[in-house]
Protein backbone atom coordinates (compact mmCIF):
# COMPACT_ATOMS: atom_id res chain seq x y z
CA UNK A 1 0.00 0.00 0.00
CA UNK A 2 2.37 2.70 -1.16
CA UNK A 3 -0.35 4.73 -2.91
CA UNK A 4 -1.80 6.04 0.33
CA UNK A 5 1.49 7.67 1.35
CA UNK A 6 1.92 9.22 -2.11
CA UNK A 7 -1.68 10.47 -2.05
CA UNK A 8 -1.34 12.11 1.39
CA UNK A 9 1.90 13.89 0.43
CA UNK A 10 0.40 14.98 -2.91
CA UNK A 11 -2.64 16.56 -1.22
CA UNK A 12 -0.44 18.33 1.34
CA UNK A 13 1.94 19.76 -1.27
CA UNK A 14 -0.91 20.90 -3.50
CA UNK A 15 -2.69 22.58 -0.57
CA UNK A 16 0.46 24.50 0.41
CA UNK A 17 0.99 25.54 -3.24
CA UNK A 18 -2.58 26.81 -3.56
CA UNK A 19 -2.41 28.76 -0.30
CA UNK A 20 0.85 30.40 -1.36
CA UNK A 21 -0.53 31.34 -4.78
CA UNK A 22 -3.92 32.45 -3.50
CA UNK A 23 -5.62 31.85 -6.89
CA UNK A 24 -7.72 29.12 -8.50
CA UNK A 25 -6.69 29.88 -12.12
CA UNK A 26 -6.09 26.96 -14.47
CA UNK A 27 -2.39 27.45 -15.27
CA UNK A 28 -0.96 27.67 -11.68
CA UNK A 29 -3.31 24.86 -10.61
CA UNK A 30 -2.02 22.51 -13.34
CA UNK A 31 1.64 23.38 -12.73
CA UNK A 32 1.17 22.85 -8.99
CA UNK A 33 -0.61 19.52 -9.52
CA UNK A 34 2.13 18.31 -11.89
CA UNK A 35 5.03 19.29 -9.63
CA UNK A 36 3.29 17.91 -6.51
CA UNK A 37 2.63 14.59 -8.25
CA UNK A 38 6.23 14.33 -9.45
CA UNK A 39 7.67 15.20 -6.03
CA UNK A 40 5.37 12.88 -4.10
CA UNK A 41 6.13 9.95 -6.44
CA UNK A 42 9.91 10.58 -6.35
CA UNK A 43 10.11 11.14 -2.59
CA UNK A 44 7.52 8.70 -1.28
CA UNK A 45 7.90 5.45 -3.22
CA UNK A 46 10.32 4.23 -0.58
CA UNK A 47 9.12 6.10 2.49
CA UNK A 48 6.56 4.41 4.72
CA UNK A 49 5.90 7.20 7.22
CA UNK A 50 2.46 8.19 5.96
CA UNK A 51 1.20 4.67 5.32
CA UNK A 52 -0.13 4.22 8.86
CA UNK A 53 -2.77 6.94 8.56
CA UNK A 54 -6.31 5.63 8.47
CA UNK A 55 -8.29 7.61 5.88
CA UNK A 56 -11.89 7.45 7.08
CA UNK A 57 -14.45 10.16 7.92
CA UNK A 58 -13.75 9.42 11.59
CA UNK A 59 -10.12 10.48 11.02
CA UNK A 60 -11.12 14.04 10.11
CA UNK A 61 -13.37 14.31 13.14
CA UNK A 62 -10.68 13.06 15.51
CA UNK A 63 -8.01 15.27 13.89
CA UNK A 64 -10.17 18.31 14.67
CA UNK A 65 -10.82 17.09 18.24
CA UNK A 66 -7.10 16.46 18.68
CA UNK A 67 -6.22 19.98 17.45
CA UNK A 68 -8.77 21.43 19.88
CA UNK A 69 -7.40 19.49 22.85
CA UNK A 70 -3.86 20.39 21.82
CA UNK A 71 -4.53 24.14 21.57
CA UNK A 72 -6.30 24.17 24.97
CA UNK A 73 -3.30 22.38 26.51
CA UNK A 74 -0.90 24.79 24.79
CA UNK A 75 -2.62 27.90 26.18
CA UNK A 76 -3.08 26.37 29.66
CA UNK A 77 0.54 25.33 30.03
CA UNK A 78 1.81 28.64 28.62
CA UNK A 79 0.00 30.46 31.40
CA UNK A 80 1.32 27.92 33.92
CA UNK A 81 4.95 28.53 32.87
CA UNK A 82 4.45 32.31 32.76
CA UNK A 83 3.15 32.22 36.36
CA UNK A 84 6.11 30.11 37.51
CA UNK A 85 8.61 32.45 35.82
CA UNK A 86 7.06 35.59 37.30
CA UNK A 87 6.72 34.13 40.82
CA UNK A 88 9.62 35.47 42.98
CA UNK A 89 10.07 32.06 44.68
CA UNK A 90 10.46 30.28 41.29
CA UNK A 91 8.38 27.21 42.27
CA UNK A 92 9.95 24.50 40.10
CA UNK A 93 10.70 20.83 40.76
CA UNK A 94 12.48 19.70 37.58
CA UNK A 95 13.42 16.18 36.57
CA UNK A 96 13.61 13.70 33.72
CA UNK A 97 10.90 11.05 33.92
CA UNK A 98 10.09 7.92 31.95
CA UNK A 99 6.76 7.22 30.26
CA UNK A 100 5.63 4.22 28.27
CA UNK A 101 3.40 4.59 25.23
CA UNK A 102 1.00 2.05 23.74
CA UNK A 103 1.25 3.60 20.25
CA UNK A 104 2.81 1.32 17.64
CA UNK A 105 3.21 3.39 14.46
CA UNK A 106 6.26 5.63 13.97
CA UNK A 107 4.19 8.59 12.81
CA UNK A 108 1.96 8.46 15.88
CA UNK A 109 4.98 8.38 18.19
CA UNK A 110 6.47 11.34 16.31
CA UNK A 111 3.29 13.37 16.74
CA UNK A 112 3.03 12.37 20.41
CA UNK A 113 6.63 13.42 21.13
CA UNK A 114 6.18 16.72 19.26
CA UNK A 115 2.94 17.48 21.08
CA UNK A 116 4.59 16.85 24.44
CA UNK A 117 7.48 19.09 23.41
CA UNK A 118 5.18 21.88 22.23
CA UNK A 119 3.24 22.08 25.49
CA UNK A 120 5.53 24.12 27.76
CA UNK A 121 6.68 22.53 30.99
CA UNK A 122 7.41 19.18 29.38
CA UNK A 123 9.75 18.21 26.57
CA UNK A 124 10.84 14.92 25.08
CA UNK A 125 14.58 14.32 25.40
CA UNK A 126 14.76 10.83 23.95
CA UNK A 127 12.65 7.98 22.56
CA UNK A 128 13.77 4.37 22.83
CA UNK A 129 11.27 1.94 21.28
CA UNK A 130 8.10 2.59 23.29
CA UNK A 131 9.70 4.55 26.15
CA UNK A 132 9.74 8.34 26.17
CA UNK A 133 12.10 10.31 28.41
CA UNK A 134 10.43 13.59 29.30
CA UNK A 135 11.96 16.58 31.07
CA UNK A 136 9.42 18.36 33.30
CA UNK A 137 9.74 21.77 34.91
CA UNK A 138 7.45 20.80 37.76
CA UNK A 139 6.73 17.20 38.79
CA UNK A 140 3.42 17.11 40.65
CA UNK A 141 3.26 14.80 43.66
CA UNK A 142 5.67 12.05 44.71
CA UNK A 143 4.61 9.38 42.22
CA UNK A 144 6.63 10.12 39.07
CA UNK A 145 5.29 7.05 37.20
CA UNK A 146 1.70 8.19 37.62
CA UNK A 147 2.52 11.76 36.59
CA UNK A 148 4.36 10.52 33.47
CA UNK A 149 1.37 8.40 32.46
CA UNK A 150 -0.99 11.36 32.90
CA UNK A 151 1.11 13.49 30.49
CA UNK A 152 1.16 10.81 27.79
CA UNK A 153 -2.45 9.72 28.21
CA UNK A 154 -3.83 13.20 27.41
CA UNK A 155 -2.77 12.94 23.75
CA UNK A 156 -2.51 9.18 23.39
CA UNK A 157 -6.22 8.38 23.47
CA UNK A 158 -6.87 10.46 20.32
CA UNK A 159 -3.77 9.34 18.41
CA UNK A 160 -4.70 5.72 19.12
CA UNK A 161 -7.89 6.16 17.09
CA UNK A 162 -6.06 7.96 14.27
CA UNK A 163 -3.15 5.57 13.80
CA UNK A 164 -3.82 2.45 15.87
Amino acid sequence: MKFKGIFVVFVMLLAIWLVLNNTLQMAPLLIGAGVSLLLSVVLCTKCSVFNDIRLTPKTFYYTLVYLGVFIVELVKSNFDIAMRVLNPALPINPGIIKAETILKSKMARLILANSITLTPGTFTIDIKENILYIHCVHIDGDNTEKYAQSIVRKFEKYLEVLYG
Binding site: I16, N22, I92, P120
Partner: protein
Protein backbone atom coordinates in the same frame (compact mmCIF):
# COMPACT_ATOMS: atom_id res chain seq x y z
CA UNK B 1 -12.60 47.28 9.58
CA UNK B 2 -11.45 49.43 12.48
CA UNK B 3 -12.61 46.86 15.01
CA UNK B 4 -10.47 44.21 13.33
CA UNK B 5 -7.43 46.47 13.57
CA UNK B 6 -7.99 47.06 17.29
CA UNK B 7 -8.46 43.32 17.97
CA UNK B 8 -5.34 42.58 15.90
CA UNK B 9 -3.31 45.11 17.89
CA UNK B 10 -4.47 43.60 21.20
CA UNK B 11 -3.64 40.04 20.05
CA UNK B 12 -0.18 41.18 18.91
CA UNK B 13 0.38 42.85 22.29
CA UNK B 14 -0.54 39.65 24.17
CA UNK B 15 1.86 37.71 21.94
CA UNK B 16 4.64 40.21 22.67
CA UNK B 17 3.95 39.77 26.40
CA UNK B 18 4.47 36.01 26.11
CA UNK B 19 7.79 36.60 24.34
CA UNK B 20 8.77 38.93 27.21
CA UNK B 21 7.93 36.15 29.73
CA UNK B 22 10.11 33.79 27.69
CA UNK B 23 13.00 36.28 27.99
CA UNK B 24 12.54 36.63 31.75
CA UNK B 25 12.39 32.83 31.99
CA UNK B 26 15.69 32.53 30.13
CA UNK B 27 17.34 34.73 32.78
CA UNK B 28 15.74 33.15 35.83
CA UNK B 29 15.79 29.39 35.16
CA UNK B 30 18.66 27.47 36.81
CA UNK B 31 19.95 25.08 34.10
CA UNK B 32 19.93 24.51 30.32
CA UNK B 33 16.93 22.17 30.25
CA UNK B 34 14.68 24.57 32.12
CA UNK B 35 15.94 27.40 29.94
CA UNK B 36 14.96 25.45 26.83
CA UNK B 37 11.52 25.02 28.38
CA UNK B 38 11.07 28.73 29.05
CA UNK B 39 12.89 30.09 26.04
CA UNK B 40 11.64 27.98 23.16
CA UNK B 41 8.10 27.34 24.21
CA UNK B 42 6.64 30.34 25.90
CA UNK B 43 7.72 31.94 22.63
CA UNK B 44 5.69 29.45 20.54
CA UNK B 45 2.37 30.90 21.66
CA UNK B 46 3.98 34.36 21.62
CA UNK B 47 5.02 34.25 17.97
CA UNK B 48 1.76 32.52 16.99
CA UNK B 49 -0.31 35.31 18.56
CA UNK B 50 1.93 38.04 17.12
CA UNK B 51 1.54 36.63 13.61
CA UNK B 52 -2.20 36.13 14.10
CA UNK B 53 -2.55 39.77 15.15
CA UNK B 54 -0.78 40.90 11.99
CA UNK B 55 -3.12 38.63 10.02
CA UNK B 56 -6.15 40.32 11.60
CA UNK B 57 -4.83 43.78 10.72
CA UNK B 58 -4.17 42.70 7.10
CA UNK B 59 -6.88 40.09 6.32
CA UNK B 60 -5.42 39.39 2.83
CA UNK B 61 -2.36 37.84 4.43
CA UNK B 62 -4.30 35.58 6.80
CA UNK B 63 -3.95 32.35 4.79
CA UNK B 64 -0.19 32.75 4.38
CA UNK B 65 0.14 33.54 8.07
CA UNK B 66 -1.72 30.34 8.95
CA UNK B 67 0.87 28.53 6.81
CA UNK B 68 3.68 30.29 8.75
CA UNK B 69 2.12 29.23 12.06
CA UNK B 70 2.00 25.61 10.87
CA UNK B 71 5.72 25.76 9.95
CA UNK B 72 6.55 27.16 13.40
CA UNK B 73 4.48 24.37 15.00
CA UNK B 74 6.45 21.75 13.03
CA UNK B 75 9.99 23.14 13.40
CA UNK B 76 9.88 24.39 16.99
CA UNK B 77 9.59 21.04 18.87
CA UNK B 78 12.23 19.42 16.63
CA UNK B 79 14.81 22.13 17.34
CA UNK B 80 14.21 22.17 21.10
CA UNK B 81 14.34 18.36 21.23
CA UNK B 82 17.67 18.33 19.38
CA UNK B 83 19.13 20.97 21.72
CA UNK B 84 18.02 19.03 24.80
CA UNK B 85 19.21 15.68 23.44
CA UNK B 86 22.64 17.10 22.56
CA UNK B 87 22.97 18.74 25.96
CA UNK B 88 22.16 15.48 27.75
CA UNK B 89 24.47 13.54 25.41
CA UNK B 90 27.54 15.63 26.32
CA UNK B 91 26.46 15.45 29.99
CA UNK B 92 25.64 19.09 30.72
CA UNK B 93 24.90 19.03 34.48
CA UNK B 94 21.33 19.39 35.69
CA UNK B 95 20.55 21.95 38.38
CA UNK B 96 20.79 20.93 42.04
CA UNK B 97 17.01 21.20 42.39
CA UNK B 98 16.45 18.33 39.96
CA UNK B 99 14.39 15.54 41.51
CA UNK B 100 15.08 12.53 39.23
CA UNK B 101 17.02 11.74 36.03
CA UNK B 102 15.65 8.46 34.70
CA UNK B 103 17.49 8.76 31.36
CA UNK B 104 20.95 8.93 32.98
CA UNK B 105 20.02 6.00 35.28
CA UNK B 106 19.02 3.86 32.30
CA UNK B 107 22.09 4.81 30.25
CA UNK B 108 24.38 3.93 33.18
CA UNK B 109 22.73 0.53 33.39
CA UNK B 110 23.35 -0.07 29.67
CA UNK B 111 27.05 0.88 29.85
CA UNK B 112 27.60 -1.26 32.96
CA UNK B 113 26.04 -4.36 31.41
CA UNK B 114 28.23 -4.10 28.27
Amino acid sequence: MEYLEIIGAIVTLIGAMFILFAGIGLLRMPDIYNRIQAGTKASTLGSMLTLLGIGLIHPDWLLKIVLLIIFILISNPVSSHVLGRAAHFIKVPLSSRTAVDKLAEDEDRVTQSK
